[in-house]
């Protein structure tokens, strides 16, 4: 009986992932972002069993090109979700306000800690690790190694363990 329950659970999980309309869900996310003035243009969208990969993604905010990423990929296993961004280049006009480049950024949300989203990133600023606390509505990012932080230093605070960024939303 237990075996059967496990089997059917596995089948349901697999079927949910397999038949999930990932492209359409992404389009829905795009339309929600559009209402906030954010538009993503992508050269191609590839759907996998549990993944969705976007290539040559250009980010526009209020009609202005803000950044370009070589690759953006989503992975969902329902209980574990991951967003990966590779080679994100900030537009020249905004390089005095944001880091010039983010080589790799990973955002993870899992049911193990449902009120927390983990963030890891490596870029021109160095390396950072942090989280988004959904309960306290707070973003906290610790810069573990710092490189070029002059452009973003005004947003950062200096703590005992180094520079960090913190904001509420």
């Amino acid at each position: 009986m237990v075996k059967k329950i496990l089997l059917y659970t596995f089948v349901i999980w697999g079927a949910l992932l397999l038949f999930m309309p990932k492209k359409n869900l992404y389009f829905k996310a795009e339309s929600i972002l559009e209402s906030q003035g954010v538009v993503l243009n992508e050269a191609s969208i590839e759907e996998g069993f549990a993944t969705l990969e976007l290539r040559d993604v250009t980010l526009y905010a209020k009609g202005i090109q803000v950044a370009h990423a070589d690759e953006v990929s989503f992975l969902t296993l329902l209980a574990y979700n991951q967003l990966k961004v590779s080679q994100l280049q900030i537009d020249k006009g905004f390089q005095n306000m944001f880091p010039k480049e983010i080589t790799d950024a990973t955002v993870v949300y899992s049911v193990i800690s449902p009120l927390r989203i983990a963030i890891d990133a490596v870029g021109s600023f160095g390396t950072l690790k942090g989280y988004v606390d959904l309960k306290e509505r707070k973003v906290h990012l610790d810069l573990l190694e710092t490189k070029e932080i002059k452009s973003i230093q005004r947003y950062l605070k200096k703590g005992e363990e180094g520079w960090f960024y913190e904001t509420d939303f």
Binding site: K4, L7, Y8, V11, I12, A15, L16, F19, M20, P21, N24, L25, Y26, F27, K28, E30, S31, L33, E34, V39, L40, N41, E42, I45, T58, Y60, K62, G63, I64, G93, F94, N96, M97
Partner: protein, 283 residues
């Protein structure tokens, strides 16, 4: 026993298939009801920058020439107090006047009529209309404020209109007081290279009309900053730059990006209920 086992496995396969079909059906319904089938794409504007010419009918250096017309016998007659003269553009050969009639702004040239009054000729400060062989002079309304010194300003005047007989001609003021504001190239380049410096010195907020962007309102200007010298004030609404309407962020950003390649800039603003043009030369 074997038959029971076969029945069970057959049942399992059937159940599995049922689950697969059910899940597929659920996702299909979700897609059909709530999910879009196409994505959102940003469309680049390919309309091209509109050609922008600034035509000056009078040179900036000198006041508008006063036309010496053959004196006409003028008699006092009628009342054209509803016509408020707010601007005169005189090229020497032709003249255009800007006036407010029944709350609406009208632009007419010599020979054209408003409320039966035909524009006959202009001087530096007056427009002379004719009706039924009688002549009426409308003086340019006087500005209560000093026109901005920082920029070339063409603006409406505040004072109530006066309609008088031409016999009482007393020239008052100019329709446009034009002054060049020269901006330093080094300062412009510094702001062009550093967007964050712009936000430190001037604050702008979008202005919407009927749900559409209609310009940007100046929310603050830092004293002693380069922006304070532009002739802008808090509350001004930026309407267009070099003829391009600021009805989206991309236009504003494009103008900001191209400012290093620009020698002249004309900014159309709305101050109160009046529209003004500020003209800059970047040297």
């Amino acid at each position: 026993m074997k038959q029971i086992s076969k029945m069970l496995s057959f049942k399992t396969v059937l159940t599995t298939l049922f689950i697969l079909v059910a899940v597929k059906l659920v996702w299909s319904i979700v897609s059909l009801l709530w999910l879009p089938v196409v994505g959102v794409d940003h469309q680049e504007e390919h309309t091209g920058k509109p050609l922008f010419y600034r035509v000056k009918l009078t040179p900036n250096e000198a006041p508008a020439p006063v036309k010496k017309k053959t004196p006409v016998k003028k008699r006092s007659s009628g009342n054209i107090k509803n016509i408020k003269l707010i601007g005169i553009y005189d090229s020497g050969e032709d003249a255009v006047v800007v006036l407010i009639y029944k709350g609406k702004t009208k632009v007419i040239t010599i020979g054209e009529s408003v409320n039966g009054f035909t524009l006959d000729h202009t001087t530096a400060t007056e427009a002379v209309f004719s009706k039924n062989h009688k002549y009426y002079t409308v003086k340019l309304t006087k500005n209560k404020r000093k026109i901005e010194k920082m920029a070339t300003v063409t603006e409406a005047k505040d004072e109530a209109p006066t309609a008088t007989d031409t016999n009482d001609e007393t020239p008052e003021g100019n329709a446009t007081e034009q002054q060049h504001r020269v901006l330093k190239r080094s300062e412009v380049d510094m702001f062009a290279d550093n967007l964050s410096e712009v936000y430190k010195n001037i604050g702008i907020r979008e202005v919407k009309k009927d749900g559409k962007l209609a310009g940007f309102r100046v929310t603050f200007i830092r004293r002693d900053s380069a922006f304070a010298k532009l002739g802008l004030r808090r509350g001004d609404v930026l309407k267009s730059i070099n003829g391009e309407a600021l009805d989206n962020y991309a236009t504003a950003y494009r103008a900001y990006q191209n400012i290093q390649d620009t020698d002249m800039m004309t900014l159309k603003i709305e101050r109160g209920n009046k529209e003004m043009e500020l003209e800059y030369e970047i040297d």
